[in-house]
Amino acid sequence: MPGMLASDVAQRLARPSRWTPLEIVFWLVALASIWLLPNKHLILTEIAILALFALSLDLILGYAGIISLGHAAFFGFGGYAAGLMAKHALVTEPVLALVLAGLAAAMLGFATSFLVLRGSDLTRLMVTLGVSLVLREIANRYSDLTGGADGLQGITMAPVLGMFKFDLFGHTAYVYSLVVLFLLFVVARRIVNSPFGLSLRSIKGNALRASAIGIPVDRRSIAIYTVAAFYAGVSGALLTQTTAFTSLDVFSFDRSADLLLVLIIGGVGYLYGGLIGAVVFKLMQDWLANITPQYWQFWLGLVLVVIVLVGRERMGRWGAPIRALGGRFAKR
């Protein structure tokens, strides 16, 4: 825009990083659910974990434009890391184990990011899918360590921070997951609104032009891929810790595919997309599984097909009034 002062530009760029009232309401509702829905904590925990996982995919897909069919690789890696640490009493404190599991997944993410950076969308799809399949095969192969097809059993979780014991009704688990989700969300929010996050968006928009204005495309992509792997690893570890169990299922293709659906429902490239998508997806899945226990996948598939055929842009326009409302609140 011509005639715009540097301060205007700075202000414009800074605006998204301010917390809007709608966002605060969102998190207050999430907080209130701890007391308002005490008998729904099990499914709410699942939602929080899925939301964190979706957040992770959104970081690479929505912001850097890296498409992945095998994001479950990091989820599963973190899950097994947390499970093994707890089972063999290597690190008993859950929060520390959570961070370590996330770091382990991040290391895997860093190592595989070099594979993912090469080639086109199709190659990326194949490589990410391949990595998750290879991990699944490895987990299956070393069944002495991982329990193979039976899953990793006999995990006993120590109390969180040595104070809060995991209970049968999932109260601790939910509060724990929600706190982790919130903290990591705040970090993700900082990341995407920072100059680093803006550079990612420009890479997604046009990698060639981004490199022409001096953005190190490869290095930035590797960085965000590693961060996203950390997030996915933490969400996988959360699942293991809150259920005291993990199995080969964490690497499955369905998990990666469902995750894409979550993100598409909620919206890509906007952090709340993953959170809202996770809520809608889990409620829908729960509802469908109640009606048709065996065939709910059919309706899930139908939702995917319809979303693509109708077009995300058109659906985005239906959601526009809500966002406009949020924007109006923000301006006041």
């Binding site: 391949g130 095969e137 192969r141 369905d254 996948q297 598939g301 939702v303």
Partner: protein
């Protein structure tokens, strides 16, 4: 050793017939069709119903399976796939995963989740001795049929007018359109034939690959390996890739059963890193 090789070739030929349709649709319309396996599954189930429940002869059922699946492919192409050509790869992936989920659940609903077996006629069971090697008759049949199909495809692609139109469209769609080739029709026909071939492969392969509702998910990665390793610019690439994959997979399962699919996936990743465009692709003009 030779038996392993033989089984591997049969398996690879089967994979080629299953996946060649996918490689053409990917090359031609840049369409990532993860639902390709669903067509193969359809062919398999059509054969199961025809042979086991209606008593139609096996070979006739296989031919019917081809036409039934081709018709289904043409129908879906005209009604649904047409709308996603122009969309991004992400949306194509989502769309076709959705189709896979629907196919899996629908087949589960209609046919049940247990594995189905086709009753193969007596004449095709057992082994015969060829040059001192025990050779399964059914696998021999597969090699023959798939070999003939491959030859026919190669001839159709290289010698017929349709084949040259198809190749022109793959090489440069815009210029082909400019020359008056109706690319949409070429694509619809190719999609139908590709789906039909997948159905045929599914019908023939039900015995070897196993047929249950999760077939499309189980073999999706194999089809994708064939396509990505073989490249999309010819059918010789996918053919060689299929044979290699078939032999590699059978040998892997035979000599190192504990490793499972590990070897193949690792090789695939290595190939993709080494040559992202596929092992056998020629450099494109663009």
């Amino acid at each position: 050793m030779l038996t392993v090789l033989f089984d591997g070739i049969a398996y690879g030929m089967l994979l080629f017939v299953l996946a060649c349709g996918l490689s053409v649709t990917l090359g031609l319309m840049n369409l990532v069709n993860l639902a390709h396996g669903a067509f193969a599954m359809t062919g398999g189930y059509v054969t199961v119903v025809l042979v086991n429940r209606m008593g139609v002869p096996f070979l006739a059922s296989v031919v019917i399976a081809f036409f039934a699946t081709a018709a289904l492919g043409a129908l879906l192409e005209r009604t649904l796939y047409v709308h996603v050509y122009a969309k991004s790869h992400l949306e194509q992936v989502l769309f076709t995963i959705g189709l896979v989920f629907m196919a899996v659940a629908a087949v589960d609903y209609i046919m049940g989740s247990s594995q189905q077996f086709v009753k193969i006629p007596q004449a095709l069971q057992g082994q015969i001795n060829v040059l001192g090697i025990g050779v399964g008759k059914y696998r021999l049949l597969i090699i023959l049929v798939c070999g003939l199909i491959t030859l026919a495809l190669q001839l159709a692609l290289m010698k017929t007018r349709f084949g040259s139109r198809l190749r022109a469209a793959v090489d440069d769609q815009r210029v082909a359109r400019g020359l008056g080739i109706n690319v949409n029709v070429v694509f619809a026909v190719t999609f139908a034939v590709g789906s039909g071939l997948a159905g045929l492969g599914g019908a023939l392969g039900a015995e070897i690959l196993g047929l249950d509702p999760i077939f499309p998910l189980k073999y999706m990665i194999y089809f994708l390996i064939v396509v990505t390793v073989g490249g999309t610019s010819s059918i010789t690439g996918p053919f060689l890739a299929s044979i290699l994959l078939g032999i590699g997979d059978v040998a892997g399962k035979y000599y190192a059963p504990k490793l499972g699919g590990f070897v193949i996936y690792t090789i695939m990743i290595a190939v993709l890193i080494w040559r992202p465009q596929g092992l056998f692709s020629r450099p494109t003009a663009r």
